[in-house]
Symmetry: C2
Subunit: 329 residues, 2 copies
C-alpha cells in the first residue's frame, strides 16, 4: 500500500535538486525570475516524472483567483440553445486555462445567492442580469471576481451583458404569422421557472405586432399541451416560445384532430435541428449571433486579464433573430 499522496511542488523541488520556489517560477513561466535553461529542464522533467499537478485550491487560496467561470443558471430546462452555447463556451475556455462550472441552483435556504457565488471565488461569472444588484456586483468584485457578465434581453446598467433580443424574436414570429393571414394570435409562455422570463420577453414582442395576442402559459408536459389543444377557441396562429414547446404543442394538436398548419399555424424558435426533422417541418426563428463561442471566450479572457475593459451598459454580443421558414405554416 504505497500511500501515494499526490506529489507537491516540494517533492518536485527535491527530485530536481532545487528549491521549491524555483519550481513555482519555472512552472508558471514567471518572467521576473531568471532561471537557467538547464534548471528549467530539470524541473520540468521532475514534474513530468512525478506526475505533479498543482493543487487547485492552494493556488486559488494564494492568488485569490480560481480560474472558474461560474454560470449559476436557473436549473429549469433553459432550452437547447443556451445549453449548446454554454457547452461550446466551456470548450473554448478550457484551453485558455479557465474552467466553466455550471452550477444549477434552486433553493438557497436564506443565503443571498451572491454570497454563495462569492464563496467559490470565481474568476468570472455569467449570470442572468435580473439576479444582480449593485451590492451583489460589489461583493463579487471585492471577493476577487474580475469579470461579471450579465445575460439578459437588454443592456444592463450594472454590467456588460450578452444580450439576446427576445422581443425581436417574438415580433419576428408574429410578423410571419400575420403576413400569412393569421389574425387570432397567441404566444406560449413556459411555466418553468427561469425560462418564463424569456417567455414573457418573447410575448412582448408578439404583442408589438399583434397587441391582442393571447398569452398561454404551458408546462412542458403532454397533459398540459393536451389541455391547450382541446380548447374550443383555439387561435389560428401560435408562437410556441421555442422549437421544443412547438413540437409538444403540435403533437397535442394533431392528437386532437386539429390540422397543422391549416387550422393552426405554429412558429417555433431557436432553430434546433429538431425543427427540421419533424413533419411538418417547423418554421423557426433563428438566432444570429454576432459573436462565436470562441470569440466570447477570447473576450472574457481579455476582460479577466485586464487587456480590455467593458463599461456597465455595454453589449458583448447580440443575438438577433432571423426567420427560417420551413413548412407552409
Amino acid at each position: 500500500m504505497t500511500s501515494n499522496r499526490p506529489p507537491t511542488s516540494v517533492d518536485v523541488a527535491r527530485a530536481a535538486g532545487v528549491s521549491q520556489a524555483t519550481v513555482s517560477y519555472v512552472l508558471n513561466d514567471n518572467p521576473n525570475a531568471r532561471v537557467s535553461e538547464e534548471t528549467r529542464q530539470r524541473v520540468r522533467d521532475a514534474a513530468a516524472r512525478l506526475g505533479y499537478v498543482p493543487d487547485a485550491s492552494a493556488r486559488t487560496l494564494r492568488t485569490g483567483r480560481s480560474g472558474i467561470v461560474l454560470v449559476p443558471l436557473s436549473p429549469a430546462r433553459t432550452g437547447g440553445l443556451v445549453r449548446d452555447l454554454l457547452d461550446d463556451l466551456g470548450e473554448e475556455l478550457r484551453p485558455r486555462g479557465y474552467t466553466l462550472v455550471q452550477y444549477g441552483e434552486r433553493h438557497l435556504k436564506g443565503v443571498p445567492a451572491a454570497k454563495v457565488w462569492a464563496g467559490l471565488r470565481p474568476t468570472a461569472i455569467i449570470v442572468e442580469a435580473d439576479r444582480l444588484t449593485r451590492a451583489s456586483v460589489d461583493l463579487l468584485r471585492a471577493s476577487g471576481t474580475r469579470t461579471v457578465i450579465g445575460f439578459s434581453d437588454a443592456p444592463s446598467p450594472l454590467v456588460p451583458a450578452v444580450v439576446m433580443d427576445h422581443e425581436s424574436v417574438g415580433a419576428c414570429a408574429a410578423r410571419h404569422l400575420a403576413e400569412r393571414g393569421r389574425r387570432r394570435l397567441a404566444a406560449i409562455v413556459p411555466r418553468e421557472e427561469g425560462v418564463d422570463l424569456m417567455g414573457v420577453g418573447r410575448l412582448r414582442g408578439v404583442r408589438q405586432v399583434a397587441p391582442d395576442a393571447e398569452r398561454i402559459d404551458l408546462a412542458f408536459t403532454e397533459e398540459a399541451a393536451r389541455a391547450v389543444a382541446t380548447r374550443h377557441d383555439l387561435p389560428d396562429g401560435i408562437f410556441a416560445y421555442n422549437d421544443e414547446y412547438a413540437l409538444l404543442l403540435m403533437s397535442a394538436l394533431q392528437d386532437a384532430g386539429v390540422r397543422v398548419p391549416e387550422d393552426v399555424a405554429i412558429v417555433g424558435a431557436d432553430d434546433l435541428l429538431l425543427a427540421s426533422l419533424v413533419r411538418p417541418r417547423l418554421t423557426s426563428v433563428h438566432f444570429d449571433t454576432t459573436a462565436t463561442p470562441a470569440g466570447m471566450a477570447a473576450y472574457i479572457d481579455e476582460l479577466v486579464r485586464g487587456d480590455r475593459t467593458a463599461e456597465p451598459g455595454s453589449v458583448i454580443s447580440i443575438y438577433g433573430p432571423r426567420l427560417i421558414v420551413r413548412s407552409s405554416s
Copy 2:
C-alpha cells in the same frame, strides 16, 4: 470605494468578540467543542451581519476535501437520458453539501486525465469505468477522493459502478423487430466520440438476437443521415441507438421516400418525450432504473461519510431495459 474584501472568519471573530477558532467551532457545529449557547448566538449574528461566507478553497486546502462531485463526461452529446440524470443528481446532492461539477473535457494536452481530476481534489468522482485504471484509482484515492464510482455497461473490477445494460437494450430492440417479421436488421452506432462505446454495446445486444445485423456508423448530421437513407440496400429493421438518432434517421428516410415503418421499421431508445411527440410515434426502449437520483445521492453521501462501503465490482444501480411500443413499427 469601499474595498470590501469579503469578510473572513477572523472578521467575524472580531465582531463577535471571540477567537477565530470559536467561530469555526460554532459555524461547523463541531461536537467536541462545547460553546455556550449565548456565544453561539453572538457568532451567528456577527456572521450573518457581515455576510460571511467561508472561502471554499481555504477549507478544501485545510481539510483535503472539496465537496465536489466531479463528473468528467466526454463532451459529446451524451444523449438526453444521461444529461437529465445528472441534472437531477446535482439537485439532490446540493442540499447534502456537495457540488456536482460537470466538467466536459476533450483534449488534455499530454496530462493523464486522472492527474487533472486529482488536481481538483474532488470528494467523489463519477466517471466512465473504461477511463479508469488501477493506477488512476489509487491516485485519486491518495489525493483525497473518498468515492470513485464507475459508469459502465458492466460491473467494473476496480470500483462500484452504475451499470446501464446496453446490451440488453440492443437485444430488446432486436427481439421486437424480429417478432414483427423483420429479417435484415441493422444497428446505428454513433460516430460521436464517447457515445460510440455505448453504441457498440447496444450493437452487441442486437447481434445476440440477430448475429448478422449490420453495423451502420452515423454522425449526428442531416447529411450523414441522408447518405444512409438513400442507400439502395436498406435493411428492413433498424435499431437507431437512441430516440434522437432515430428521429434523425426517420426524417431522412421520409425525405428519401421510404415509408416508415412499412418499408423500414425503426426502434429508438431512452424513451425521451420526443419519441411520443413525432409522427409516427417512435417505439423506444425505456430504461427502468432501480435507483432514483435521490437514492443515488444518499448512497454517495453514505459512501463519502464512511457509513457504508462498496466493494469493487459491486453494482450501485442497474438501469434495465423495457420496451415501449408506440407506433406499429
